[in-house]
Symmetry: C2
Subunit: 218 residues, 2 copies
């Protein structure tokens, strides 16, 4: 595990107050920041570079709150999701025709996502990074022969809308601006981990009810 020195060098922690030429003192704010960095690293699975960007958004306290939240949230979109779809795909491995197939799936997914945004009346711009990540995920599902998954999209969106509102209610209770953005960061990243774990647990339960016997086995 990286040490405090490493975090300092990477700019994830501000320098402490020098109490002597080779000793620095670290206060409560430092300790809190240190814990935040660790949580994003260990539970959130973010890279050091991504954490640096997110913390910059937390510390950069100008502009309207909605823009600030948008800036933080945008940096929290998983990097593997967006982009890779058409550019990186199909080249080196040379599977026949996957470049063209990728394009068709992406076009289809993009239309589906635009319709979803319109149907739900979500106030987000069409180039939104999360929307792009969704396009990439749906296109990928199509490519692996699970295009039928798209039928679940409305139900998923319904549940996501519920969670998104819960998240914002939690965030809106924060008074201080720095606290507010930090809440978004923590809630978004660790909230993903919380939800993913709960979803697995609910799946195990649903599987037990559908296929299992009385006693729990997994």
């Amino acid at each position: 595990m990286p040490t405090i020195k490493y975090y300092l060098r990477e700019g994830l922690l501000p320098a402490g107050e020098l109490t002597s030429p080779n000793q620095a003192s670290y206060g409560d704010a430092h300790e809190r920041r240190l814990r935040l960095v660790r949580a994003l690293l260990e539970v959130g699975g973010l890279s050091v570079a991504a954490i640096g960007e997110v913390l910059a958004a937390v510390d950069d306290g100008d502009g309207p709150v909605h823009d600030l939240l948008g800036a933080a949230a945008t940096r929290l979109v998983p990097e593997y999701g967006a982009g890779g779809a058409s550019g990186d795909d199909g080249g080196s491995a040379g599977a026949s025709g996957s470049g063209g197939a990728a394009d068709a799936e992406t076009v289809l997914a993009r239309e589906r996502v635009a319709r979803l945004i319109e149907d739900r009346g979500w106030r987000i711009a069409s180039g939104n990074k999360a929307a792009e990540a969704l396009v990439a995920a749906l296109a990928s599902l199509g490519r692996v022969g699970h295009g039928g998954f798209v039928e679940l999209l409305d139900d998923y969106a319904e549940a996501a809308e519920r969670v998104g509102r819960i998240d914002l209610d939690y965030v809106a209770r924060r008074v201080a601006r720095e606290d507010l953005v930090e809440s978004v960061v923590v809630g978004t990243v660790l909230g993903d981990a919380v939800f993913a774990a709960l979803r697995r647990m609910a799946q195990v339960d649903a599987s037990a009810r559908t296929f299992g016997e009385e006693a729990p086995t997994a």
Copy 2:
């Protein structure tokens, strides 16, 4: 991006049928598997090692369906979530008392998760890996001063239960056993990406409604 040769060497793809001493032919099943590996790698963000384990579960078709699903789902729990909480934490960086604090947070989180499982009547064993990942995430939230997030747990669980049932309904429509486990793998991993993207989009919408002006900005 890794090539087919690399996937073959890592055992993620079965060898093709030799048509001459240095040429092999690859059929539809190969191409489908190749696309699955890529999707798990690029959109799912799984490591090559994790994909190897997951595919072993897909290919190992013995035992009751519920156990098979459990085995696949267990391998899909994000690795950073479980474990790290008490062992790895607090040592090298030397933040005062974080070892003890970590333990207290973990104990608290464990109790909360046990209560959640009981309240919802979920049929899962207490040592379940997803439950352990949830404990780690909640403990981590507590450690970064966001213990209040735990208040959202019931609402999150409600939404997760809904998604878990949608997932199982989708899976249960598959007739062939191999298809069924593959659906779980694809649906679980790519479903995380889909849900995370939808949650971000819903947050942006909720933020626009709470803090924003008329025009969408993010």
